[in-house]
């Protein structure tokens, strides 16, 4: 069984029309929970708004949620359960490694398979071959992450950078790599390339090197693992107060040491500001609703959930109400600047992950993260 939510409250008045079931196989327990759950919560709010305003051609959107707890076999059998429960769209966890057992079930059953916020560009044919045509992620491609960070540095006049890559995930490596290329193209200079792997206990060492490299800024591609605060602490206490810049994965601010001298001049890109100051009133409203429900999002990634719902609805409408995965996917692949709450979404035959969407830049000053500006990465390869 699974928890079923029929957002929109009142029993269907449209009568005969069957609902559109989205089977969500996500993690509600483990390390992906902070990403998966807010995205889903926000998506359900979005769906309920759609349902309230008559649904998709009169059909309601219903989420059936399965907690896969990141256990591979369970992830697979949950996906099978979702399919047998009549799901016509599969919604998966935001880490491609954890999600693959479910993704493959979706692809095998020719369902449109959506991850709200996978941040690698693997969600698509590149990893899943021809079948992967049905797979999309509403997260940002690492190419964009890297590009926007490069732009951020250039824009603020930080011409030299130390790049620190956490080799734990392909996503981190990709972001840093793209940053370096773009940064160089834009006239920046990478002073030194450093790396470590989360958990290998060399972070303090790397931090010392980074702190002393003399670059105008440090770019760090990692997530909020225990090593991130250790890194920041080490750099700051060595007297380096220059900007530390990271991708969406370090969004949230919850990890920051409360010492204001340490948690300052830290920058990152994200989908939305969760600090109450996002420029978009739509997003602010959505956030307020989530907070009211006690589901306050931790990172800006939550907007990918409703964005995905909007994308799905757009595709269904374009397909004339068809739920045929192949058809929907074909339509989705042609998305060009489709408007969503997260900004314009575009896909292409190479990228089934969003590229070119504007980012929010957040700066943390003395432990207080706040919205700074919106930056658009620009077309790839610029």
């Amino acid at each position: 069984g699974a928890s079923t939510s029929s957002p929109g409250g009142s029993p269907s008045t449209t009568g005969a029309k069957s609902p559109i079931i989205i089977g969500a196989v996500i993690d509600e327990t483990n390390t992906m929970k902070p990403f998966d759950v807010p995205a889903l919560n926000a998506a359900e709010i979005q769906a309920s708004q759609i349902n309230a305003s008559g649904g998709v051609d009169g059909r309601k959107i219903v989420f059936k949620v399965y907690n896969d707890q990141l256990v591979p076999a369970l992830t697979r059998s949950d996906a099978i359960a979702a399919v047998s429960a009549g799901a016509s769209i599969l919604w998966v966890s935001c880490d491609v490694n954890f999600a693959t057992p479910a993704i493959q079930v979706g692809l095998q059953h020719k369902l449109l398979t959506i991850a709200p916020c996978i941040g690698t560009d693997q969600m698509g044919p590149s990893l899943f071959g021809p079948a992967g045509k049905l797979a999309f992620s509403y997260g940002n491609a690492p190419q964009s992450d890297g590009a926007v960070l490069a732009r951020l540095l250039i824009q603020h006049g930080w011409k030299t950078a130390t790049v620190v890559t956490d080799k734990l995930l392909t996503y981190f490596t990709d972001v840093c790599q793209n940053f370096s290329t773009d940064f160089a193209k834009m006239g920046g200079h990478v002073v030194s390339q450093l790396s470590y792997t989360t958990g290998d206990h060399t972070v303090t060492q790397v931090a010392s090197q980074a702190a002393q490299s003399g670059a105008a800024a440090t770019v760090l591609c990692t997530t909020t693992t225990p090593d991130l605060p250790a890194f920041v602490t080490a750099v700051r206490t060595l007297g380096n107060a220059k900007p530390i810049v990271g991708p969406w994965a370090i969004d949230g601010g919850f990890w920051e040491p409360s010492n204001p001298a340490i948690s300052t001049n830290i920058w990152w890109s994200t989908f939305a500001s969760v600090f109450g100051d996002d420029p978009s009133p739509q997003i602010r409203a959505l956030e307020a609703e989530m907070v009211a429900k006690g589901e306050a999002p931790v990172t800006g990634g939550f907007v990918t959930g409703p964005a995905a719902v909007q994308g799905i609805v757009t595709a269904i409408k374009d397909a004339g109400g068809s739920l045929n995965g192949t058809r929907l996917a074909a339509i989705m692949q042609t998305f060009h600047d489709v408007n969503t709450i997260s900004g314009p979404v575009s896909f292409s035959s190479t990228y089934h992950t969003v590229v070119g969407r504007p980012y929010r830049i957040i700066e943390d000053t003395a432990g207080k993260p706040h919205f700074v500006e919106i930056l658009t990465p620009g077309p790839l390869g610029s």
Partner: protein
């Protein structure tokens, strides 16, 4: 008569459990069938662990390395070559182009597991106790590190996708059955009997002429082969694999199954693997909510692991040798009852008869033969 019956029971017990799980699993919903197959595959891994740990008494935290190697080899070489070349451009040429059938991949995985474990065993099998535990753990860490970051031999840090899903209920059951038969056959070899003795007292074993190293190596290699085989079943069950799935979590989960069942017997390994597997599957369903008639029970998220951990602790405290007491199926009932209550009337007929010392009466306190008491 009795010994033969014991032998039959020893094999029939575990095998019938496989049949029960397979048959019961087939009767369930399609999603639950996946869980049942997973139970069978996990039990196969536990049997592989048992072959070494149970028989040698040396704890290895490294067997999952062999599962990993088997899984990646079988998965890689059966996945479509076209996507291999696009998604893993750095692969060695022969790995990028070779394509084998699923059956071949099972054999290959078993072979690779055996070869790898043999080589590791050559270095490690002289160690015992905690040193052996830590050294085998090191093997796990090394395997994980190499598989995750050496992208010439596999997908590296990304998932290996598009592996054909061929481990059906039948394949799972047959595979598990094969592992059980191999383990059973092995544990009746002379080599294994000597190994089992040596774990009780290695020094005494040496004195008797038993080469602990050699017999351990045999067990380690067979165990590695079975582990590789189980890895292949595993990858063909999921259809994909990433290194994190064959690492510490799986190591400890399967070890827990082995200990809870009873590490010293094949029956314990199979029962533990299947039993905890079923409990685990049940608990994960319970986190999604299960209906008991009209009552809907939903476990709070995360409770599955808490319950499993506590279960393991409690079982081991109550029954340190596992729920089977490390005895084979029905062994308790089929073996001669030990115990000689009262120690009373033993049959006489001692050849000694207290002959030389006791009977001459010249001593104030002759001590007659115990056997006549």
């Amino acid at each position: 008569m009795r010994p033969r019956l014991r032998l039959v029971a020893e094999l029939a017990g575990p095998l019938s459990l496989v049949v029960v799980v397979a048959v019961a699993g087939s009767a369930m919903s399609i999603a639950q069938q996946g869980n049942a197959i997973n139970v069978l595959v996990t039990a196969t891994i536990v049997v592989a662990l048992y072959v070494f740990i149970g028989n040698s008494g040396v704890w290895s935290f490294g067997q999952i390395s062999f599962v990993a190697v088997g899984a990646f080899a079988a998965g890689l070489l059966t996945s479509p070559t076209a996507t291999r070349q696009t998604s893993m451009p750095t692969l060695f040429k022969f790995l990028a182009t070779t394509q084998i059938s699923n059956t071949e991949s099972l054999v290959l995985a078993a072979g690779l597991g055996a070869v790898f474990s043999f080589l590791a065993g050559l270095v490690l099998m002289r160690l015992s106790g905690l040193s052996a535990g830590i050294a085998t753990f090191a093997v796990l860490e090394i395997t994980y590190d190499v598989l995750t970051y050496w992208d010439k031999i596999g997908p590296g840090a990304t998932t290996l996708a598009l592996v054909p899903v061929t481990t059906s209920m039948t394949v799972g059951a047959v595979g598990c059955g094969i592992a059980i038969v191999v383990a059973f056959a092995y544990q009746h070899t002379r080599s294994c009997r000597l190994l089992r003795a040596s774990r009780e007292d290695p020094v005494a074993a040496q004195g008797l002429g038993i080469s602990v190293f050699r017999h351990r190596l045999v067990a380690f290699t067979i165990s590695g082969g079975l582990a590789g085989f189980a890895g292949a079943l595993f990858v063909h069950e999921l259809g994909s694999i990433s290194t994190g799935q064959v690492y510490i979590d799986l190591t400890f989960a399967t070890l827990a199954m082995l200990v809870v069942g009873g590490a010293g017997s094949l029956w314990g390994a199979v029962l533990g693997g299947m039993g905890l597997g079923v409990v685990d599957a049940f608990l994960s369903n319970a986190e999604n909510g299960v209906a008991f008639g009209s009552v809907n029970v939903t476990l709070p998220n995360g409770m599955r692991v808490v319950i499993l951990g506590v279960l393991m602790v409690v079982v081991l405290i109550i029954a340190p040798k596992g729920v089977t007491g490390s005895r084979e199926f029905l062994e308790r009932f089929l073996s001669k009852r030990p115990g000689r209550a009262g120690a009373g009337n033993k049959p006489g007929g001692s050849l000694a008869g207290g002959a030389s010392v006791a009977d001459d009466g010249s001593q104030a306190v002759p001590s007659p033969s115990r056997t006549q008491s």
